[in-house]
């Protein structure tokens, strides 16, 4: 029998409200404490209790870039879990469940599936002070035993989790006690022959971080002092993380009346000289549209984060998708310059958010950072960020001394770069700013020549910025049988699918649009014209990136791999579809 070491896909699932998220995080943490790498994947409906919640952890010896569809071991907290996920069990995979809660009839699961019946309810009953929600700790212990992993790492993980919850001191001991009972139950009643084993490694410990934390941390590192936002799934953890660091980082999070207030408060703070940001999801961004246009008109640096979820309307609030690209690229009435960044993984969420603040200040315009639910909530284990070379650049922001020496200050001075020296209130450089078309002084001015000069000036900033915007990132060889284009969170999954293709003898490269706009039209046009075959991979119905590429280059992409069922891409699906595209 084939035995895998340190290559696992584990799932815990059941009805919402049973601590599934905490259990999943504890499992993931136990892996990372043992020097292994993880990528978690969460599926849950938009409600607080009830409904099917699933928390998957993929474990590898090296860094993990995406979730996979198949599971080696499933912890089923209810029968529905088995019904829903049994077809995604690998050959010889296992299911852990409580026989007092779930009855499996003959033939309900494949013959190769290993069944681990653990009397969790009974164990909880027999343990003093244990409560039913600790069921999942029993199953975590049982999982450690099946996988032959060091129990102490789970104990350490549980300790870490509950020590943060102030009221629950004896919770730690009881959780560990019941977990150990689950562990012992497996060791005493089942042979130690599961086809996946986990072994501790002595690698440097990694951070466990989600995309939304990385965005908030990137903002804090960039000197963003003010975030105003209105709660909206899946963006809320950006504001949650930011507010949790208020006192330590010296920042302010202001929950706003609504998204319109959120962006206007952030705008006000930035106008007054503070680096500011707002974060939301598609529907909230729609409310911000008018002010986004104002930000462009009054040339205010502002970072706007859109953590996408599938629309239209309320759509699938807790699921994932990439259907806001064209919306963000065109948001707001009238023509105004903007920058659009579409990070592909947790690292890029951090580094590119940091850079978003520099770009906003340098070009005095709205900078959109577009993420999605998959990126936002998936925990990934990565080394600490390298902040050594990160430099804050505030562009043409005047110092108090420079402002003191101004004569006839023009806030909207027409320049070759399009960027004008920027003063802030409190400085000796009084100016007015109007949402109406204005002259260089900021005074309302409707003459046609002035209008043209000002539109041209604002748009020159994009020409200047383009030189500062990285080219799309090319992964894989320069020349390949197939070129894949994508943006945002599909990065990890495409890179993995490319490895599968390689085994089939198909060489592929991948052009990831980490920075979407301003668009490197000439470069992209030339690059794509030399490709043998181009396939677009993205999470929406209408192939929005393919549309953007065609808009700017005229290049038409015929082959598309699109997914819009509200769920994340898995590498196996992408691989299958790419192969079909290749042969088709």
């Amino acid at each position: 029998m084939k035995m895998d070491v340190n290559r696992l896909s584990w799932l815990i699932a059941g009805e919402a409200g049973y601590g599934i998220m905490t259990a999943g995080q504890n499992f993931a943490k136990a892996m990372v404490l043992g020097g292994l790498n993880i990528f978690t994947h969460v599926e849950y409906p938009s409600l607080i209790r009830g409904g099917h919640n699933a928390f998957a952890v993929r474990v590898e010896e090296d860094e993990v870039r995406c979730p996979i569809q198949m599971y080696n071991l499933i912890v089923a907290l209810n029968k529905e879990t088995i019904d829903r996920h049994k077809n995604f069990l690998t050959h010889g995979g296992g299911i852990i469940f409580d026989p007092d809660k779930i009855t499996l009839n003959d033939g309900e699961v494949r013959a190769d599936v290993r069944i681990y019946k653990v009397p969790t309810t009974q164990i909880i009953k027999e343990t003093t002070d244990a409560i039913p929600v600790m069921n999942n700790s029993v199953t975590l212990g049982a999982s450690m035993a099946v996988l032959n992993y060091d129990f102490e790492l789970l104990a350490e993980s549980i300790k870490g989790t509950y020590s943060k919850k102030k009221k629950a001191n004896n919770m730690i001991d009881i959780n560990i006690e019941v977990a150990k009972k689950g562990y012992d139950y497996i060791k005493n009643n089942y042979p130690n022959d599961f086809n996946v084993k986990l072994e501790k490694r002595t690698k440097k410990k990694k951070m466990m971080i989600i995309g939304n934390q990385a965005i908030a941390l990137g903002a804090i590192k960039a000197g963003c002092k003010f975030l105003s936002a209105y709660p909206m799934t899946p963006a809320t953890s950006v504001m949650n993380y930011f507010v949790s660091k208020e006192e330590e980082a010296g920042v302010v999070m202001k929950q706003a009346d609504d998204e319109i207030a959120a962006i206007n408060m952030a705008l006000g703070a930035s106008y007054a000289g503070v680096r500011a940001m707002t974060s939301t999801s598609g529907g909230g961004l729609a409310l911000m549209a008018e002010t986004a246009s104002l930000v462009g008109m009054s040339e205010i640096p502002l970072v706007i984060v859109n953590v996408q979820r599938p629309g239209p309307a309320t759509g699938l609030p807790t699921r994932t998708g990439q259907a806001d690209l064209k919306f963000v690229m065109n948001i707001g009435h009238g023509d105004f310059p903007r920058i659009v960044i579409t990070p592909g993984d947790v690292q890029e969420c951090f580094y590119e958010t940091f850079n978003a603040f520099n770009l906003a200040d340098k070009y005095q315009l709205p900078v959109f950072v577009v993420s999605d639910k998959c990126l936002a909530v998936s925990i990934r284990s990565i080394p600490e960020f390298d902040t050594k070379y990160m430099k804050i650049d505030r562009g043409c922001l005047l110092t108090d001394e420079e402002a003191n020496n101004l004569y006839d200050y023009k806030r909207f001075l027409i320049t070759d770069s399009g960027v004008s020296p920027r003063a802030i209130p409190g400085q000796n450089a009084i100016f007015r700013s109007s949402s109406d078309e204005h002259n260089e002084h900021g005074e309302i001015h409707e003459e046609q020549d002035n209008r043209v000069s000002m539109e041209d000036k604002r748009f020159r900033k994009l020409d200047t910025a383009l030189k500062d915007i990285p080219l799309p990132k090319l992964y894989g060889p320069e020349n390949a049988d197939m070129t894949i284009v994508g943006w945002g969170s599909t990065k990890g999954v495409v890179l993995e699918a490319m490895e599968y293709l390689k085994k089939d003898g198909i060489t592929a490269n991948f052009l990831h649009f980490t920075y979407m706009f301003p668009f490197h039209a000439d470069w992209v046009s030339e690059f794509l014209s030399k490709c043998k075959m181009v396939v677009d991979v993205e999470g929406n119905k209408t192939a929005q990136l393919a549309g953007v590429i065609r808009e700017f280059t005229g290049f038409k992409i015929e082959k598309k791999v699109l997914k819009y069922n509200g769920r994340t891409f898995f590498p196996s699906e992408v691989y299958d579809d790419l192969k079909r595209a290749y042969h088709g």
Binding site: M207, K225, F226, A261, A269, Y271, G273, V274, I430
Partner: protein, 285 residues
């Protein structure tokens, strides 16, 4: 020392209709700034959209003219970024009580030290004479040819309901009263709301300057003390036969920005940008 001429924008002058109350409001605001000896570079006037919202264009302090209804959140952001600035938000009845009503209600309950001045002429001016949230019942307008079917919003009563720290009403036909109220509101430590009744010479043929003059009376001249919320409510409910002007309610309370652990220190804009995030990364390990 700031003088009236320092606040002038020279040849760049207002484009309001001749006889518009906005001229007097602008004048009163300048006088209040002079009276309070504010340094123009530390004053920011923020507005939304409408005739009144053009005001920041014509006073030589920092001015931010945004989009319709959103002056309050912009002003809030400015104040939180730099609490040393004097932030004055300007809007009309359409801007503040129509498009921006959500922000108005929320501003009333947050004690952030900014001043809101509402030019309330009970009509939409810039869009040429439509019914506004404060138009009187039955009044005809270009959008209500059969007369306004609804009762007007009572902004003073809304503010009283939220126990807003400073609530006042003044009248654009009384420059002295207006100047004193503006100065009092701006120097008040807390959120201050001033509703200004004014005529619209072009579009509102009902609530004219003369109409107001016949009705307004000064609360403080009558010996009214602005220290009781129930009395304030009673005054707020007085109809249009006799219109009280003056301070309805005034109560100093701790400011949001003085209580907040970060804001109470140095203004945000002066705080250090570079932050070592090492400990935040270690926390995640």
């Amino acid at each position: 020392m700031v003088e009236m001429k320092d606040l002038s924008t020279g040849t760049y002058v207002p484009d309001w209709c001749p006889g518009c109350g906005n001229f007097l409001i602008l004048n009163a605001l300048k006088k209040a700034v002079v009276q309070l000896k504010l340094n123009p570079k530390d004053v920011v006037v923020v507005s939304g959209i409408g005739c009144s919202s053009k005001l920041p264009q014509w006073i030589n302090v920092f001015g931010y003219h945004g989009v319709h209804g959103r002056g309050l959140p912009v002003g809030t952001g400015i104040k939180l970024a730099n609490k040393k600035l004097h932030v004055i938000v300007i809007g009309g009845d359409g801007d503040v009580f129509g498009e921006g009503m959500n922000h108005f209600i929320h501003a009333l309950r947050k004690n952030i030290n900014i001043t809101l001045l509402v030019h309330d002429n009970q009509i939409y001016g810039l869009t040429k004479g439509q019914t506004s949230p404060t138009s009187m019942t039955g009044d005809r307008s270009t959008s209500s040819p059969r007369g306004n079917a609804f009762d007007p919003i009572n902004p003073i009563a809304l503010a009283v309901a939220q126990k807003t720290p400073y609530i006042a009403r003044t009248f654009a036909g009384d420059l002295k009263h207006m100047t004193n109220i503006f100065a009092d509101a701006i120097s008040f430590k807390g959120f201050s709301f001033v509703n200004i009744f004014q005529s619209c010479v072009t579009w509102n043929k009902h609530n004219t300057n003369q109409w107001f003059k016949e009705r307004v009376y000064d609360l403080q001249a009558e010996g009214y003390k602005a220290d009781n919320i129930e009395k304030a409510f009673k005054k707020a409910l007085e109809g249009y036969e006799k219109i009280p002007i003056g301070v309805f309610y005034k109560e100093e309370r701790p400011l949001f920005e003085d209580e907040h652990p970060i804001l109470k220190k140095t203004p945000l804009v002066k705080q250090k940008l570079e932050i070592d995030i090492k400990r935040f990364m270690e926390e995640l390990v």
